[in-house]
């Protein structure tokens, strides 16, 4: 979706403010927001693409006015309500009003380290040969779906070149909407800045994205 999350190329947000390397959290609630998001995710009730979509469907004003862990908490609340683990009334009342829904057991403290170290690989075995090969010219499609996509606006309808073939990966545009992994070939596609931004683009800049096969069509050499 063309939401507030799609920030590439937007202007007017001001300068970037660096910060010292040691600052991991800036408030205690940030720690709890992170931990709550990870532990809730471990219930297996949603996937990472659903999480991202829950966050990007926040009202744009709300999204931009919120710090990132706040976006996470607002997204988490939406997921919990959608999966009927918690009701809106319970969130509003800050108290339990309904019996919990049966789920897989909660993540145990002893399982935290192995679970984080394992992660959730998103690659899948190929079922068909890759359509594009390294060095080939491609054009991204101009798509404007109302649902989740990982093709940013600034890179739509643009001509680039395949630089690597990453393998076959779960397709977020389907997975975010409960349509299963729908795995596809994933490519590293590189664009000169002039293609993305026009004549004024930095002549010594290339930008790459990772693009699923269905985002691409072949382009003339």
């Amino acid at each position: 979706m063309n939401g507030a999350q799609d920030l590439g190329g937007m202007m007017g947000f001001g300068p970037v403010a660096g910060e010292p390397e040691g600052e991991v959290f800036h408030a205690d609630w940030e720690k709890r927001a992170l931990a709550l998001t990870i532990a809730s995710g471990a219930l297996g009730e949603w996937n990472i693409d659903m999480s991202r979509h829950a966050r990007e469907t926040l009202h744009p004003t709300d999204y931009l006015a919120s710090s990132y862990y706040e976006v996470w908490i607002k997204g988490l609340e939406k997921l919990l309500v959608a999966r009927e683990l918690v009701t809106s009334e319970e969130i509003a009342a800050s108290s339990v009003l309904h019996a919990p829904r049966p789920t897989s057991p909660p993540l145990a403290a002893a399982d935290v380290a192995p679970t984080l170290a394992k992660g959730t690989p998103c690659d899948r075995p190929p079922q068909a040969p890759a359509r594009f090969k390294v060095g080939q010219a491609v054009r991204t499609l101009n798509v404007n779906p109302s649902g989740h996509t990982r093709l940013p606006r600034y890179a739509r309808g643009k001509r680039g070149r395949i630089e690597r073939v990453h393998g076959v990966f779960i397709f977020p545009d389907a997975n975010a909407h409960g349509l299963g992994p729908s795995a596809q070939w994933l490519y590293l596609v590189c664009f000169p800045a002039s293609e993305l931004w026009g004549r004024e683009g930095d002549p010594a800049l290339d930008v790459s994205i990772d693009a699923w096969e269905s985002y691409l069509e072949g382009a003339a050499e």
């Binding site: 799609d6 006015a65 108290s95």
Partner: protein, 222 residues
């Protein structure tokens, strides 16, 4: 009572109401309430929450990535492995998993400077760099890194010659990118530990360079 949180955009003019209702900002109350609900309903174990926080406060952070970079500088075989299969090479040092399941290492050269961003959310290689800093998640960085990276780098104090080519990696999928900065001159024969001390978090995102040992010597002397 509502409050406007510190925005992603870092707008200095946004109004904040933290602590205007008795010591706790709305977001603190909101997170605390949700945590209580989740614990009371048995969906999360408070000890697991503590373990997660402890992990990212003490175990998983940019010193991991610094060790990867130092090994790559010091060991040509590891460097080849890192370039060919970064996930496995990094895993061999014990760093793996969440938000680093599919790693790619990108080396700076004399001619090309790499910079990593996620314009769509805040994808970041957690096992090697830990949790992302605020700026990496902020609207100013996410919006400008792909259109004006030279301007962004200048704000980090890094002014590259116009002849240095910049390559920006927008992390739009589950591939996570680790920048391997250029090894500074004057570090021949250094141990991996000494080398790792030169590798900042920012340099592994591309927002900086490895520390010049001459500057360290200067500091020590000062």
């Amino acid at each position: 009572m509502g409050s406007v949180p510190p925005p992603i955009g870092g707008d200095n003019h946004a109004h904040r109401h933290d602590h205007d209702d008795g010591g706790l900002a709305d977001i603190e109350l909101r997170v605390r309430a949700l945590e209580s609900l989740m614990i009371e309903k048995g969906y999360v174990d408070p000890a697991a929450l503590d373990a997660i926080v402890e992990t990212y406060e003490t175990k998983i952070g940019p010193r991991n990535g610094a060790r990867v970079v130092a090994r790559s500088w010091a060991d040509p075989a590891f460097r080849r492995w890192l370039n060919e299969d970064a996930t496995a090479a990094i895993g061999s040092l014990g760093y793996s998993g969440r938000q680093g399941e599919h790693m790619t290492a990108v080396e700076n050269t004399a001619d090309v400077h790499n910079l990593v961003v996620c314009t769509l959310c805040s994808c970041y290689p957690w096992p090697v760099l830990g949790l992302p800093p605020v700026w990496y998640k902020s609207a100013p960085y996410r919006s400008r890194a792909v259109i004006d990276p030279r301007g962004v780098l200048a704000e980090f104090g890094l002014r590259l010659p116009a002849s240095t080519k910049i390559r920006v990696w927008d992390s739009t999928a589950e591939i996570r990118y680790l920048v391997v900065p250029l090894r500074p001159a004057g570090t021949e024969g250094w141990s991996e530990e000494r080398l790792a001390a030169l590798v900042s978090r920012d340099s592994m995102v591309g927002a900086g360079l490895a520390t010049d040992p001459a500057s360290l010597a200067g500091e020590a002397a000062a």
